[in-house]
């Protein structure tokens, strides 16, 4: 909590400085940012719809981080989920809710499979999960682009702007005339709750944390650490895949190349800022979603580049990591060091 406050304050100082350099009143900019995120029903809907996939991906990351795995391939897992969901939306006939249900399911499975692929590369192939995840991310991105300009190209023209829109029954249902759908928000909340419970109350969760804490000790007490790691990758990838499916079926209504849109990396920042604690993921993700959505207003209203939002997010996380580093160093300096003699 203290870390969050200190780093946010530090980020605000930096942001204020940047805004002053850009010749803008910082207070005004921040109020524009806030009203851009929460100023109207539509904006609240947009923020909520941006929050859900981010929170989902972050929830999955909590699981892989707990197992000590640097799952950097979240982008690829989001794309894999989006591709699978698109296939379902295009091919499944019958009532819309059936297509949606199947789309969300295969999206989760698709992301999970993509996550497991990084896990198998690590446990069987000895490939560090960071490189495996990055590589698989490129593969997923290239495959999505191929599908969009190849087999799934729009009638008549092949364009990287995306496939044809899905039939409307396969769109996630929204409330009244807004852009808000309850499904993503509910799924994200349920997933967060499940992750919180799983890590605390189940044997798998305990083994996961044990593997993340000390692999050699885990082996010694007889934990099948390979399986535990693969499980973590499956869950992390599944959550990211579900996020991809929700973006596709609920926001874009078609497959676009930029479906992941940096959410995978942003989710890592969310988890870092949340200090790897599940309960903190929801508010931190909301904060980040609000900045992302609100910063588009900076451009319209103040003629500032909307990338300022990204700068703000980055600075906050850097500050948080820095504060964490200071705290760790202070702790190390005051605590006795265990060393070899």
């Amino acid at each position: 909590m203290r870390r969050f406050l200190i780093s946010t304050a530090a980020a605000l100082v930096v942001a204020t400085f940047l805004l002053l350099v850009a010749g803008t009143d910082p207070i005004e900019a921040l109020s524009v940012l806030a009203s851009g995120a929460f100023g109207s029903t539509d904006k609240i809907a947009d923020t909520a719809m941006a929050w859900a996939p981010l929170a989902l991906a972050a929830a999955g990351l909590i699981v892989t981080f707990s197992a000590g795995l640097w799952n950097i391939g979240v982008e690829g897992q989001v794309i894999a989920g989006a591709i699978a969901a698109t296939a379902a939306a295009r091919w499944v006939e019958g009532p819309g809710w059936v297509a949606i249900a199947i789309g969300l399911l295969v999206g989760t499975v698709g992301g999970g499979v993509w996550g497991m692929a990084a896990g198998l590369l690590k446990t069987r192939g000895g490939v560090n999960e960071i490189f495996g995840g990055l590589g698989l991310g490129f593969v997923a991105q290239a495959f999505a682009t191929y599908l969009i300009i190849g087999p799934w190209k729009r009638a008549g023209v092949a364009s990287t702007s995306g496939t044809d829109l899905f039939r409307e029954e396969a769109w996630l249902p929204t409330i009244g005339g807004t852009r808000l759908s309850v499904v993503p928000v509910a799924l994200a909340l349920v997933t967060l709750g499940w992750v919180w419970w799983m890590l605390r109350a189940t044997r798998f969760g305990l083994e996961l944390r044990a593997v993340g804490s000390n692999l050699r000790s885990a082996r010694l007490v007889g934990i099948r650490s390979e399986q535990v790691m693969l499980g973590a990758f499956a869950i992390g990838g599944g959550a990211a895949g579900l996020a991809g499916a929700l973006v596709t079926l609920g926001i874009q209504h078609k497959l676009v190349p930029a479906v992941a849109g940096g959410r995978g990396f942003l989710a890592i920042l969310v988890v870092l800022l949340a200090g790897y604690r599940t309960a903190w993921v929801a508010p931190v993700a909301l904060f980040f979603a609000a900045i992302s959505v609100g910063s588009s207003q900076l451009n319209l209203r103040l003629d500032l580049d909307s990338s300022l939002g990204g700068v703000l997010q980055g600075v906050i996380v850097l500050a948080a990591v820095l504060v964490a580093g200071w705290q760790a160093r202070r702790k190390a300096e005051t605590a006795p060091i265990e060393g070899d003699t």
Partner: protein, 481 residues
Amino acid sequence: MTLRITEISKHFGPVRANDSISMTVEPGSLHAVLGENGAGKSTLMKILSGFQDADSGSVTLGGQTVPLGDPQAAIAAGIGMLHQDPLVVLPFTALQNFMLGTDLKHRTARRLFNETAARLGFVLDPDRVTRSMSVGERQQLEIVRLLSRGVSVLILDEPTSGISTGQRELLFDALRQLASEGLIVMFVSHKLEEVLDLCRSVTVIRRGRVVGERDLPCPTHVLVEMMFGDIVPETTHESARLGEPLLTVTSLEASEGRQSIRRVELVVNAGEVLGIAGLEGSGQQPLLRALAGMTPRVAGSITLDGSDLTRRPYRAFLRSGVHFLPAGRLEEGLFAELTIAEHLELALGSASIDWEVARRRAEEAIDRLSIKGRPDDPVAGLSGGNQQRVLLAMMPNDVSVLLMEHPTRGLDIESADVVWTQILARRAQGTAIIFVSSDLDELVATCDRIAVCFDGEILDIVSAPDVDANSLGSLIGGQIL
């Protein structure tokens, strides 16, 4: 120049790694510092060479005070250290490594390099990339580098592990020559043979204190007794009634890292306590880990209670009731961030978790083993003794063979007592106990038999109640009675 070490002390938490160590080494000495693993000799050498600061005490060389806690300043003052794994930048050539940290011109550096190497009889190509050099050649490079910086004290930390016999001879010849030129050579080792071969004097350290100094050569068992401690005559020794043969080992060979063990023939009975003694690195570790099923590279056979366990996975050993208690605790065995209750749940719990039950189990263990901690405390915050007790509490009830590495190393007397009371109580259920220790007193006080490892083999197995310090010392030093 005379090296004078005065009352150096260094604490790591509650552990006194160096407890007021003093010694004086005259110029031209080939001086050994002997001690078992954990005795504190590495800490002392790190302090001398500036890689670690001391809590108190001072070091002078030729009357000048040597600043502590700064490797560059130590070298400038004349103390250089050759590490076990030489500190070279692998992608650099020998000459580039040689020039690091100096402001020598290229040509001057090359001349100095070639001269110094030739003086010591080393054949080193200055343009060879160090990655392609053997450990022995990297050592030579490092010695050349330190000498060119004008050190008058050269510390060598276990320099002979990982180098060939020929390279060792070359190294020893060079060290003898340096001593004859008036340098101080400090040779840190636990290999008695080499110490006796090379050095003319020795300081023995045990549990952070200097226990004695000797001129060399002297009888091996004298050194061993100094390293391992005296045997306090004890009459309370009582063996449990031995049961049937439980563990049978035939022609076992195993290796781990640079250590190996071969030609092991062993039968251990139910309820027996077998100690494994030996100088550090004589093969005890690969032997114990092979018996635990943790080393995949094993030849020969291991049979437990009639069923063959050779080359079976570790989990199969675990299921058969083999339990391993490692020495590392936080490095291997425990999970720093997890709580006492979580540790016990991991080791003893069932498929589903009931935290109420787990917490009660933890409270019961805390009571039984008098652990200073609460069920929800992470183990990282516990003292070494209490961490060892948590490891004991993680032991299931039906253990048939209990394997332990240095079960009481670094523990205070009270903790050691708790540990042994808990362990020996297991004999009544027929548990066989096999443990490695470098504490002769502990071995004689608790064992039925003691197997002595030397140079990768079991040299002899002796009956503990009948053995005396002299003969055990000679055996550990490699002399068959």
